[in-house]
C-alpha cells in the first residue's frame, strides 16, 4: 500500500533524478559547475516541495503535510550532500587527475613529471583564480590578500583542524 511517506519519497527521488540530469547536461555543455549546481538544485528543490504539497492536497494527506515536507526536504538534502562530494572528486581531485593522466600515458609516468604537473605554479595559479572568483581573495599590485569572507572560512576550518588535531594538512 502506498503510504504518504512512500509517496513523498517517490516524489523526492523523481525530482532528484531530474536535478542530476539537468546538472550533468550543464556540465556537458561547459557551464560553470558551482553556479549551475546551486541553481539547478534550488529549482528542483522548489519543484519537489511544490509537488509534495500538491500530492498532499490531492491525495488527502493534508493532515500529514508538515511531516511530508520535512521528510522530503531532509531526504533531498541528504541526497545532495552525498552527490556533491562525488562530483567534486571527479572534477577537482588531484589523485583522480593523476590516475587519469597515468591511464592516458600508458599506465606509467616518471614521478618527477607528475610533480612538475601537479605541484606546479600553474596549479597554484588555477586555485588562486578559483578563490578570486569565489570572493575569498582579492588581488592588487602588492599581491593577493584575504577578503573578510575568505578570512571567516579560513578561521572556521583552522578551528576544525585544531579541534581534531589534524596537523597542517592540505
Amino acid at each position: 500500500m502506498l503510504t504518504p511517506a512512500l509517496a513523498t519519497l517517490a516524489v523526492v527521488a523523481f525530482w532528484f533524478l531530474v536535478f542530476v540530469g539537468i546538472h550533468v547536461f550543464g556540465l556537458r555543455s561547459g557551464r560553470d559547475n558551482a553556479q549551475w549546481l546551486v541553481r539547478s538544485y534550488a529549482a528542483s528543490f522548489a519543484a519537489m516541495l511544490a509537488s509534495v504539497v500538491a500530492l498532499s492536497m490531492w491525495d488527502d494527506f493534508g493532515q500529514m503535510l508538515l511531516l511530508s515536507m520535512l521528510v522530503a526536504a531532509l531526504t533531498s538534502a541528504c541526497l545532495f550532500v552525498l552527490y556533491v562530494p562525488a562530483v567534486y572528486t571527479i572534477l577537482t581531485s588531484l589523485s583522480v587527475a593523476t590516475l587519469v593522466l597515468l591511464r592516458r600515458s600508458g599506465g606509467r609516468v616518471p614521478e618527477a613529471s607528475l610533480y612538475d604537473r601537479f605541484a606546479s605554479r600553474r596549479l597554484m595559479q588555477q586555485r588562486l583564480c578559483v578563490l578570486l572568483d569565489a570572493g575569498h581573495l582579492v588581488r592588487d599590485a602588492r599581491g593577493f590578500s584575504l577578503t573578510p569572507r575568505g578570512r571567516a572560512v579560513a578561521r572556521a576550518f583552522a578551528f576544525v583542524k585544531r579541534l581534531w588535531r589534524l596537523g597542517p594538512g592540505g
Binding site: V24, S95, L137, A158, L166
Partner: protein
C-alpha cells in the same frame, strides 16, 4: 518524525565521539577511526530505535512515519548521509582541502599580501606544495592504486580499473578529449 529525531541526536553523539577519538587517540589512519566510530553509532542508533516506542512517548499520530520499516530505513539513511556527506567530508576538507589550506596559509602569514612564489614555498604551514602532492602519491601507494618502480609511478591492476572508470566518467562529462 522518530527517524529525524533519533538520526539528529545520534549525529551529535557521533560528532562528539569522533572529536574525542581524534583528539585523545591520534593515529595515522584517522579515516578508519572515523569509520569505526560511525559503525558503532549506527548499531547504537538501530538499537535505540528498536528499544523505543513509535511515538517516543510524545509525538502526535500525524507525525509518525508508516510503515515502521520505512521509519527505520529513513533514520539509517539520514544518519549515514550526515556521516558520509557531513562529518567525513568536513574531515576531508579540513585535512586535504587544497584551496582551504591556501586560505589558512593566508590567514596565518605574517604579511597581509602574498604572492604565488611565497605560497608554493610555504604552502601547508611552511611545508611547500611538493609536500602536498607527496601526500597524494603516498595515499595512492598505500591504497595500492599505483606502485613506484625506480623513478616511475605505475598503475596497478586495481588502479587501472579505477582509472578506466574515472576516465569514462570524465569523458562522458566532456572533461577529457573526445577522440
Amino acid at each position: 518524525m522518530k527517524a529525524v529525531i533519533l538520526a539528529t541526536a545520534m549525529t551529535i553523539v557521533l560528532l562528539v565521539i569522533v572529536t574525542l577519538v581524534l583528539r585523545f587517540h591520534p593515529t595515522p589512519r584517522r579515516a578508519r577511526q572515523m569509520m569505526l566510530s560511525y559503525f558503532a553509532c549506527l548499531i547504537g542508533t538501530a538499537l535505540v530505535w528498536f528499544a523505543t516506542s513509535a511515538d517516543l512517548g510524545f509525538l502526535a499520530q500525524s507525525l509518525l512515519i508508516a510503515p515502521p520499516w520505512l521509519d527505520l530505513s529513513l533514520m539509517l539513511f539520514f544518519f549515514s548521509a550526515a556521516f558520509f556527506g557531513g562529518v567525513l567530508q568536513l574531515y576531508n576538507l579540513a585535512d586535504r582541502g587544497l584551496s582551504l589550506r591556501i586560505l589558512i596559509d593566508f590567514a596565518e602569514a605574517d604579511s597581509r599580501f602574498i604572492d604565488i612564489d611565497w605560497l608554493i614555498a610555504n604552502y601547508g604551514g611552511g611545508k611547500g606544495l611538493a609536500w602536498m602532492y607527496g601526500k597524494r602519491i603516498a595515499g595512492m601507494l598505500e591504497t595500492n592504486l599505483v606502485e613506484r618502480k625506480a623513478e616511475m609511478i605505475e598503475l596497478t591492476s586495481k588502479g587501472a580499473r579505477a582509472a578506466a572508470v574515472l576516465f569514462a566518467v570524465r569523458r562522458f562529462l566532456r572533461l577529457e578529449p573526445q577522440s
